[in-house]
Symmetry: C3
């Protein structure tokens, strides 16, 4: 459906310069945009890209001028652009449907206005709430719960009892609620520690393709509201992840790790068992947090084992000058030997 | 089915103090337990959790007293608890069934008492033995073998010819027997080296969600009995993994790596091609073993490239004092210059 | 179908010594070969393996003699062997079929000679071209394109609009075209940046099990022709990967990374956003390329953050001698104190 630049400015609470009637239907980058796409520029350095774009409506930082375009000023143009995209292109309306090939247990409770795709399997006592989309090949194990407006892309597995709160989006191949990895060993073999706990995914969480979130062993694995998880991420049993934390691709979180709110984990970072990351902590890509370690509020850590970023930088710089240091020490030794009439001062 | 504390003590060969008739039906952690759940405490420090628990039966270290509970003494309470869990809550009995939507080739040989879930595909000459569970959306390629009492959770792929011995449990999304990653390059392109070998998974192996175990190129990939593999683990072609080894999440094992028995690989560890890990070796989380490297029996290694843990610790400690060392050298140089009447001693 | 050693030598343009009529049907390693399998030896050190093999035809380096065998001389025996394998064992011919359980949208355009397996879902406006195989449980989202002679193993997901050019092979569990991981945050929450771009996979690409290739946010993710991607690899939105590059298992590539032609990424390597790897660059296993970093043409880098291999080696060697250096400095300080009549020279 078409809107106008003026309506968008109003929605964003932003000032508009130029043609308020410019029609807009979507968003794009400057190069691929058509006349009715909204584009944005982050800084005046990129104004050229907007000038040559076919788009007629541009979100810009205050004071930026792009000739012949409708301009919407925003403090944070990228943020305004993301909001514009969500406003112009909401999740498409769907026709409620339980596909004829879906296998739904009689005891499952399905809200009337949901979409269940082909070849979905829904076991006993599952609940799927209003507005949810469950795409092809999803498996919802006994007693699983899918909250309002959730979206499960094709081929998502919920183990029995897995609980998704509202507006959770899970991408293809992800597995929620698998058995945790815990064994107790005697001389002969590894005996599985019971993996019978729960997993709860908070409101507005997004989970990427082929990620795996294990359920608790006895207690609960909990992903807080607003957490965003990229592809191929591993979250172990009993982990607790606070609201709005961000886990970039291939992060691995061991069992019983506790992560506060607004924590940021770079790609491929790894967290040992029972570590604690306080609110706002930032862990660099590929960094490793030792088991039991505490990363304090707002601290930025790097490396394996992780240390404060400034220490890491200092050490890294010193390391890169280390062979020079070796030469300097050798020169001092030579000097000392000469002073002492000795051959070797270091022994 | 309910048992009693006395029966459990007898099963464990352990001493019981208190009410032998206390009824027990499951296990739990102290906080969530009901009266009929068994709990455990590892040390006297956690007795408080047991005291306030609703559970009436507690597995404890010898000499530990929790008032008003039936106490079962164990040398290793966590181990006894795991055994209790397996005894109280065995894999549920199932009604043998081939779901009507399963597509089974005429030449497949299925034992009578198995469960095959909805939308399973079983190709020619597959064999599934007694007691096996094959959940929804599993794909068993031509000639695959599923041993007795195996459990394939929903959405497991066995490539043609993959062989699972008995009591193998494979979690959702795992792929067994995919093509190895091997190419021979000429000037123009990468030509695939034939990936036509086999893969064999030993008795009592467990493999986590979304893991991938490639088949051999010409020979065989072999996972020994009792090996436990976590989620998102990669095992390359022709790798050999000895019995009871443990691979934590996101470990990556390159082609032709040889791993002995009882080896422990921490999360995200990576092994290069043709490396050898002798029995009982321990590789720290995120450590990297270079191609061709040998880690000796029982050795503990860390870092990338990996080195003995004591060396890693020593180097890490020295590194964290490196900038102090730089200052000490500068001080010596200054002193030497003064002694020599020179400006700069390091050149 | 049986060929002869003579025909193979002719196909390879290679010299044959011995029985040109020796019948050959496949390839194997020396230990498991039958009489009609072709084997190869890389060097004279492995001649023994060929001597004791049942195989009658051996590809050898020039001048190598294995008694009583038909010998095919090759400059690169492993390459010749790979070519022989492809020639002797081409992808099996298949009977074109759309399985009766496949759900195909009316607007999908399927070439006549393709194979679509059981329980495949093909949405509106999908195109599948001649010779393609789409195995069980594959999901082809609206508008996806599958080129000639592609092979999608069981349980591959193509998100809407994903485009595979010709002869692309995708292994079980891989997901092509998932949403990129991009958010813009205001005080309260993470707002999803639009992930509406495209993904294009070039000719002759192979993608391993459970890998994930995200589509562009606004632009396009592009995997060049001939690229080979191992299992469990992550490729972020808008990444550009040049032709014939190789990504070993568990590599992670952040958004907007640009990778040239013939680049080699070792297992578990990680690339930050907006980094650039020029043609022929080599990144060691587990190495980490910082966001925005440029790795120049043909450079070999190691470590996190990555540096040239020679620097890494030098630093690593110096690090392993660091505790000795500390002792040498202490000895110098002692000497200097003695010379100065002071207790401590470092302060």
């Amino acid at each position: 459906m078409a809107h106008t630049a003026g309506e968008l400015a109003q929605y964003l609470g932003a000032k508009l310069f130029g043609d308020a009637q410019a029609e807009i239907v979507g968003v794009a980058n400057p190069e691929s945009a058509g006349a009715r796409d909204v584009i944005y520029v982050d800084s005046s350095r990129h104004v050229d890209r907007a000038v040559t774009s076919a788009a007629l409506c541009v979100i810009v930082p205050a004071g930026t001028i792009v000739p012949e375009k409708a301009l919407i000023e925003a403090e944070n143009p990228k943020l305004a652009f993301a909001k514009a995209a969500a406003w112009l292109m909401p999740r498409p309306l769907f026709r409620p449907e339980i596909h004829s090939t879906a296998i739904v247990a009689a005891s499952a409770r399905l809200a009337p206005n949901i979409r269940v795709g082909p070849y979905v399997v829904i076991e006993d006592e599952v609940e799927v709430k209003s507005g949810a989309i469950v795409d092809a090949f999803c498996f919802l194990g006994r007693g699983a719960h899918v909250g309002e407006d959730c979206w499960l892309h094709p081929r998502v597995t919920l183990y029995p009892g897995a609980r998704l709160n509202d507006r959770v989006e899970i991408h293809s191949g992800a597995v929620i609620g698998g058995d945790g990895f815990g064994y107790v060993s005697d001389a002969a073999r590894h005996i599985k520690f019971p993996q019978i706990g729960r997993v709860e995914i908070g409101d507005d969480v997004e989970i990427g393709c082929n990620s795996a979130i294990d359920r608790g062993s006895l207690g609960q694995t909990r992903i807080g509201p607003g957490v965003k998880i990229d592809n191929l991420v591993q979250v172990g049993h009993n982990a607790q992840i606070g609201e709005r934390s961000i886990l970039v691709a291939q992060v691995g979180i061991s069992g019983s790790a506790t992560i506060g709110a607004g924590v940021m984990l770079g790609g491929q970072a790894g967290l040992g068992e029972h570590c604690t990351l306080e609110d706002g902590a930032i862990v660099g890509g590929q960094a490793g947090v030792l088991p039991g370690k505490v990363v304090h509020r707002g601290q930025v850590v790097w490396g394996t084992p992780c240390r404060p970023l400034e220490s890491f930088r200092e050490q890294f710089a010193a390391l890169s000058r280390l062979s020079k240091l070796v030469k300097r020490v050798a020169a001092l030794e030579k000097l000392a030997c000469e002073g002492q009439g000795r051959e070797d001062v270091s022994r």
